[in-house]
């Protein structure tokens, strides 16, 4: 059963984490046992979802390609082989040993795709890493404080949401590049950092201005959605009794937001961020396709499609292969996101989890190892809650 293998792997990963935690702070394991058990349950549930596992491995492949691609590619992204042999221009797959063909400048498509993976990975990471937290913070403040601040933030958010993502991104992507170029020229440290991140050569650094503009454009376009969602969640979460209890104890607003409200609403946000990883990839590929993002010679999947479109249908491979890459990568994040959604919600988690055991014969006294208390949700009694695995006191201390 492949599920068992994955479960073993999960256990190994969790043990590894425990080991690291223990090394850093002794006693970590006991303090976080309940948390670790919860993760284990979630990962077991995840292991049982076929789409989830497919997504996981595809994404893993994408990340590996992104990290190692630039070092594994047979040719460099700026090796314009056309210089060596003019015949290498626009060759279909198979010719001269180029597995996926070449582009206008004779660059090997396989190599460019591998490099492009890194570029896509970095762009997505930076966008999500900045866009989501900004959105969350604004949403927290807006939802919790209410009143004028809420009104202000919401109106600004409305303005941004009213614009179609692509249109707004295009606007920024047109306006920003010259300023980014100035910035890059002025700061060699920034250039070095970008060069290292994107695995390109120093002399091509200024060509990154297009990509950086696209990133900034996407960050600006992306945060409003999170603000809206977080605000909605906060509005209902702040009515929780434990929030009131925390206020009564004198807990400060920031602590309430970070410790009491955020952890309880993070589920859907996490799912959305995962799904958005894929959306960001598609958006930036689209922008590149329109000629806005990556500038030559920076390899980027959308840009390659742009090149290929100019000689379509003769250069079909320049469209098909990058297209498949974008599609597969985006799909993988969607699959993961969907499965995460099912796994994070305790109720839907059960539907993918353990199968029902065979019907027990009557009067069988089977003792489970860990006493688990489950109050069954039988219709209608208002004061009952269904609780998860519990340890209850079975026997009182007898004197």
């Amino acid at each position: 059963m492949s599920e068992r293998i994955f479960d073993q792997l999960t256990n190994a990963v969790l043990r590894g984490i425990q080991g690291v935690g223990e090394r850093l702070r002794p006693g970590w394991t006991t303090r976080n046992k309940a948390q670790t058990d919860e993760w284990r349950l979630m990962m077991y549930a995840y292991n049982r979802s076929l789409p989830g596992m497919i997504g996981f491995f595809l994404a893993l492949g994408f990340i590996m390609a992104g990290l190692l691609g630039p070092f594994m590619a047979p040719y460099k992204y700026n090796e314009f082989l056309i210089v060596q042999n003019p015949d290498y221009q626009l060759k279909p797959p198979g010719a001269y040993g180029f597995a996926m063909g070449t582009d206008f400048w004779g660059r090997d498509l396989v190599s460019i795709l591998l490099q492009g993976a890194r570029v896509s990975l970095i762009i997505s990471i930076i966008t999500i890493l900045w866009g989501v937290p900004i959105g969350i913070i604004l949403g927290l403040v807006s939802g919790y404080k209410g009143g004028k601040i809420d009104e202000l933030i919401m109106r600004v958010t409305d303005v941004f949401i009213a614009f179609p993502t692509l249109v707004l991104a295009i606007a920024f992507a047109i306006v920003l590049p010259p300023r980014i170029v100035d910035l890059l020229v002025a700061s060699p440290h920034l250039r070095t950092l970008m060069v290292w991140l994107f695995a390109i050569e120093y002399r091509d650094a200024l060509q990154l201005s297009g990509i950086l503009s696209v990133i900034i454009a996407m960050i600006i376009v992306w945060w409003p959605t999170y603000t809206r969602i977080v605000r909605g969640s906060v509005l209902s979460a702040r009515e929780n009794l434990f929030v009131e209890a925390a206020r009564a104890l004198g807990v400060s607003t920031w602590r309430i937001l970070l410790k009491h409200i955020l952890p309880n609403i993070i589920g859907p946000i996490l799912v959305l961020a995962t799904l958005d990883f894929g959306s960001v990839m598609i958006t930036e590929a689209a922008l590149s396709f329109l000629g806005l993002g990556a500038q030559d010679p920076i390899p980027e999947w959308g840009a390659i499609i742009y090149i290929g479109s100019q000689w379509f249908p003769a250069s079909w491979w320049l469209i098909l292969f990058p297209g498949l890459c974008v599609f597969t990568a985006a799909l993988s994040w969607n699959l993961i996101g969907d499965t995460l959604r099912d796994v994070l919600d305790p109720k839907t988690r059960r539907s993918i989890e353990f199968k029902v055991k065979e019907k027990a014969p009557i009067k069988e006294e089977k003792r489970a190892e860990v006493p688990v208390k489950v109050s069954v949700k039988v219709p209608v009694k208002a004061s009952e809650e269904s609780s998860e695995g519990t340890v209850s006191e079975d026997a009182p201390k007898s004197s």
């Binding site: 055991k357 009557i362 006493p371 489950v374 069954v376 209608v380 208002a382 009182p396």
Partner: protein, 333 residues
């Protein structure tokens, strides 16, 4: 000799969940006689609600009635086992011969339709006459549950009514087909104490006027004392004690019943300290062996974890499920 209306024999209900098999009911048996108010009392998880649902097979998945008989004496004289009836027949019983009232009347009323149409829907479903006839009946019924201005009420929507009113509407609807047995599951837990007094008074009056039998589920011993004729105390899926109400309060025999009665503050008496029952309610996936109450029982001895006590009659109509020797010796018959 009063007639029996319901006989529950050896009922077992299990829930097959992802965490294990929850043995909600294991061998529940009791009889309900005509015209009486029979109370099922117990705390959370004791199985009283499951029992009430099982009577007309309203147990949702993953629950299943695995064993037992539920003999219902129909108004036409027939005695049927609800667990073996075909669905069509059972549907005829549900709603007309056996009616339910639940804790939350809001859940029973559709917010989109006005009261009148909901009432007539029930009646028409069970084959009563044309619509205006049914509406007239509605007004009649609402009057009998002492709703002021019943003609205006039929046009109102559920959200315009208070909790107490809604409950009266639900009661009226349930009684519209003159059921033989009314099962009331915590009907007053959601309302204030003064409204509760009104509703209980109403129910008792209606029972008299309509000649009904009531099966009342509650966790409140006070209500049992006020309106009950006979009572069964349930614990962890079994009946611990069954007796006439007066008898139970004067001479509770089961240690759990005794503990329960001592834990309830009686406002008319001065008590220094409430006696609590140590421990917590057991989990029903792996209940304690033998007598399920033994881990919390002050009188537990060596047989208790080994043997499951059966419900035995120790005095006329007074049954206990306990292994204590004095009780076993008084066993009759």
């Amino acid at each position: 000799m009063p007639q029996k209306v319901l006989e529950v024999k050896d009922l077992y209900v299990y829930f097959y969940t992802y965490a294990g098999v929850v043995k909600a009911l294991t061998g529940v048996s009791f009889d309900v006689f005509e015209g009486e108010t029979f109370c099922l009392v117990g705390e959370t998880g004791c199985g009283k609600t499951v029992t009430s649902r099982a009577i007309t097979r309203l147990i949702p998945s993953p629950g299943e009635i695995v064993k037992g008989q539920i003999l219902f004496h129909r108004p036409n004289g027939e005695v049927v086992n609800n667990l073996e009836l075909p669905e069509e027949e059972l549907r005829k019983i549900r709603g007309s011969e056996v009616a339910y009232i639940f804790q939350d009347p809001t859940a029973a009323l559709d917010p989109l339709y006005n009261i009148g149409s909901q009432f007539t829907e029930t009646m028409l479903a069970h084959g009563s006459g044309p619509k205006d006839e049914a509406l007239r009946k509605a007004v009649e019924m609402f009057t009998s549950v002492r709703i002021p201005d019943p003609e205006k009420l039929v046009k109102r929507h559920p959200h315009e009514l208070s909790g107490g009113m809604k409950q009266r509407v639900v009661i009226a609807t349930s009684l519209s087909n003159r059921p033989r047995l009314l099962i009331a599951d915590e009907p007053t837990s959601n309302v204030d104490v003064t409204i509760q007094a009104q509703l209980l008074g109403l129910l008792m009056g209606l029972r008299r006027d309509f000649g009904m039998t009531i099966l009342l589920i509650t966790h409140n011993m006070g209500i049992v004392a006020e309106v009950g004729d006979r009572v069964a105390v349930m614990y962890a899926g079994k009946i611990a004690e069954l007796a006439p109400v007066v008898e139970l309060f004067e001479r509770p025999l089961h240690p759990y019943t005794q503990g329960l009665l001592r834990a309830v503050p009686n406002p008319l008496r001065r008590i220094e300290r409430l006696e609590s029952i140590p421990g917590t309610i057991p989990n029903l996936i792996s209940p304690p062996s033998g007598c399920r109450f033994h881990p919390r029982c002050p009188y537990a001895f060596d047989s208790c974890p080994k043997e499951e006590p059966e419900l035995i009659e120790v005095e006329p109509d007074h049954y206990v499920a306990c292994l204590l020797p004095p009780l076993q010796q008084r066993r009759k018959g």
